[in-house]
Amino acid sequence: MITKADPLAQTLTFKIDGKAVQAPAGTTILTALRSIGKEVPTLCYSDRMQPYGACRTCLVEVEGRKPVASCHTPVAADASYKTHSPLLTRLRKNITELIASDHPLECLDCTANGRCDLQSLAQEVGLRTPRYENARTHNPPKDDSHPFIKLEMAKCIGCGKCARACDEVQGSFILGMSGRGYDVKVIAGNDTGFEKADCVSCGQCVFECPVAALEEPGTRLFGLPDTTVITTCSYCGVGCSLNVNVKDGSVVNIEPNPQGSANLGHTCVKGRFAHQFAHSKDRLHTPLIKKPDGGFREASWDEALDLIATKFNEIKKKYGPAGFAAISSSRCTNEENYLMQKFARVVMGTNSIDNCSRVCHSPSAYALGQALGTGAGTNSFQDVAESDVIMIVGANPTEAHPVFGARIKQAVLKGCKLIILDPRNTELAKLSDLHIPLRPGSNVAVINAMQHVLVKENLIDPDFIAKHTEGFTQLKAELEPCTPEWAAEIAAVDPDLIRRAARLYASGKAAQVLWGLGVTEAGHGSNAVFGMINMAVMTGNIGRPGTGTNPIRGQNNVQGASDVGALPNVFSDYRSVTDPEARADHRRVWGIEPPSDKGLRIPDMFDAAHHGTLKAMYILAEDVAQSDPNTTHVVGALESLEFLVVQEIFMNETAKLADVILPGTTFLEKEGTFVNSDRRIQRVRQAIDPRPGTRIDGDIINTIARRMGVDLGVDAGPGTPIDPSKIMDELAHLTPKWAGVSYERLEKMGFIQWPCYDKDHPGTEIVHLGGETLRPNHLAKLTITPWQEPGELPDKEYPFMLTTGRMLFHYNVGTMTRRTDVSKLDKAKEETLRIHPSDARKVGVVNGELVNVTSRRGSVQVKAQVTKATNPGTLFMTFHFPESRTNLLVGSAVDEFTGCPEYKISAVRVEKVTAAARPETRDPADEVQHAK
């Protein structure tokens, strides 16, 4: 449970086991005794939940009173507590005996054997066989319906931790305890079993279970792990710290790290259960070289690397730096991204290096950089607990960033006001105080109108504006015509809703804006971000706890990939490649003159390939042929290249087009660091050895450079592995805001939030503290954001707006998650077109029927899912299923400042497919066989 200490609480003095202790009033006895290193047994207590006081094993003696449960009794002034005594042991033994009398004493048969709280407690109090007759007259139920959450009520001790975790940590309210006494039973939903209940499969109930009433199959299959490695999750941008339990070189299971700073001992279904891909037999296990007939042949590492080195040298000589471009990967570590941009700049002499933030949050980084001076969110995850108003625009955190989504949900349940701007009725929209179901593509209009209301109704903070901002007078004039009525027309919503939203936002003492790709993956994404920053700045909601403007980053290390300079226009720390000081620094460290060409962004790379100026590409772990918009254009570009190297863990659509494929490694097999959404640099640690035949991605990049005759200075000599900590040192040296980051400090501190200016700097939880921004003049810039039409609007021929996004159970193009147990879940099996019942009636389809979805660029077939989760006129599809090829439908319109594509807005039409036209289903495994 997350409770903030009350700074005004009185400090009390009391004694624990004879020792004088001080703690603020309201502290529980348990917290106080643990703070001085004492321990009492607990069964129903968890740090992540409200005290419950059910098991009574945490009893302590109080002088002059009866023993009390320490977990929920606050300390009293001048009291004297005893944690261990003959009386307490006797009481605890009795309690344990009662619990054990209705528990099978068959520990050898149990997966919790050796890590069971009841077993340890029985040991501690010296209980052998209970005196009470075993009540084996009832039939405790079990539930095997879910693929990885198994319930065995015979072992349940009725502590209710699972149901409380479901409520208080995850916020799903799926679990409950039905019945009483011997009949008590954990129920999922309406007692229909875990699989059929609306369970999000986060596994928190399993993690909290003190016995093995709830368990996952991992330990059942492998036994207890022999090591636990703490690392950082490689799915979304929340950056959950994970305990990877390993046995004999394989992952047994993954559990949340209770000390994790970003996740506070919570994970989602992907981080917790979707790890089997690392052991998948589909993993690429040897370099592959394209044969003249178009197929691939297996090759040795030497042959493949030599071929690449020769080819890259040739291309550089023949076409100069303009002939080469690299795409780095936000899935890989900071060190590997730094190395990749160093490779492009030092070895190939070009700035044509980019990463996938181009197609997601580049507008956020750009606008935040321009307006506030740094290209990242301003506040931290924990700030949602301090906000009294949260506004979320174009994001669905409960599915795309589930752990953070759950935190927002908890904040809202505790009374924080929530404003949602989203065309979909997301889970949070249903919980919100105010939902503006705006039409896709109208973000800027609505945000401008909200600013208009703020100014018109004088809901702004004039002192803050005068002291900390520039550009207000001009902005005010520009906002004059942006009335709610004007925006309501564009967004197809009630103008009053916009007014109320602006007032609600301004009513917050600490109001925070969060946004996702619904904002940035639009033609005018940067303007929408500028608009939200304007709102925050005008109302003084910046530089304080609970305020700020925070993008929720999509991928595990998309923040880091950009921070370390895998972008064409900047070095690390977003220092422009034209900045003389930055150039001098790099010249000094790299020993060469850094390239000065303009450098290609990802969409420009494909254009340049079509024009014939770009000849070779090196793509690290990104399936552009699948995930980038306008698939036909991308595939054509890659096909027209002279030489394409793809480094991947699985065969995918992009790799199929490569001349050489290099088998890389997963996050479980390497050392490094990731940066999450709130600028938190955390360590990634090797849990298992790289699979035979694969190599660590950073090593591959370094070896290619070595074979091309360049020493990147990150190894101990030719043929030796890279040293990630050495790369971090170089990176820290070249990155003023990371200057205090080192592996040594990360080990000690667990995480560092940049900016961290020197070795004594603790990192920065809240940037722009007190409203002083990081721009050179320390003023926030208020930016004019004119509204423009999106690239495409519905018309007679294409009457619907299609928007795309993620669902909870899968990640991006599904390469990883679809090779894990998660794909066994019914809800995660196939792609559907989400369509509102009224639209479905218009088109004449019912739930489950096959439809053709057609845009100006192509057509795909998919099953219709009739649901009120979208609004009339708006359709939704994910991009997790390569066979449904959602991105074929998406256009080439891009953000004017950053080139971020307009994934979220495509005009489409929907037609019912006749039964005869049903396509055969494809399996991702087929693609791999094709490769061999």
């Binding site: 084996r136 319906s145 409950g176 039905s178 019945g179 309406n190 699989e195």
Partner: protein, 174 residues
């Protein structure tokens, strides 16, 4: 494992198209019950009572309907419902006979009463007669120790019972 376990993950809920919690019931509850409490959640028990009164038991489908009506997850409604012995989630007899088994009643021969009924009705506690007339239940203290042994027949309390006069009471049920 030595324990006999039964699988609950395969439970199927019988469903019908018309709701158990009808619009009329909802209107009624809204006007008479929900308005009296600061939160909708507080009306859970009255809603459960209303359903049981009308259908003589609370079908699982109705649990979901009450949840939707009050804005609560189904698990929470079922959790509350199953905490109380007097809510039945399975169809029960027209009459429920609760035989008290607390200390006074036990000392004064509750067992005889129970055995007599078991024999007469041909069912065990927790079961319902095949004609659907009577459900037999054990009860913890009914709060009438002065008149032990006692039993509750639906809503009517009967004290100072013997196997014979209890039988007569049962026989006289319409």
């Amino acid at each position: 494992m030595a324990w006999i376990t039964k699988n609950s993950g395969t439970m199927q809920i019988e469903r019908r198209t018309e709701p158990y919690l009808t619009d009329e019931m909802k209107r009624d509850l809204e006007a008479k019950v929900v308005v009296r409490y600061p939160t909708r959640r507080a009306s859970t028990l009255p809603c459960l009572h209303a359903v049981q009164e009308k259908y003589n038991y609370i079908p699982h489908q109705a649990i979901e309907e009450i949840g939707a009506f009050l804005g609560l997850p189904a698990s929470e409604v079922l959790d509350t419902c199953t905490f109380y012995e007097m809510f039945f989630t399975q169809p029960r007899g027209k009459y429920v006979v609760w035989v008290c088994q607390s200390i006074s009643c036990e000392l004064l021969g509750h067992e005889k009463l129970m055995h007599g009924l078991e024999e007469k009705l041909g069912i065990l506690p927790g079961e319902t007669t095949p004609d659907g007339k009577i459900t037999l239940m054990h009860a913890e203290c009914l709060g009438a120790c002065g008149g032990a042994p006692c039993a509750l027949v639906s809503e009517t309390m009967h004290e100072n019972l013997t196997a014979e006069n209890l039988e007569r009471i049962i026989d006289s049920l319409p």
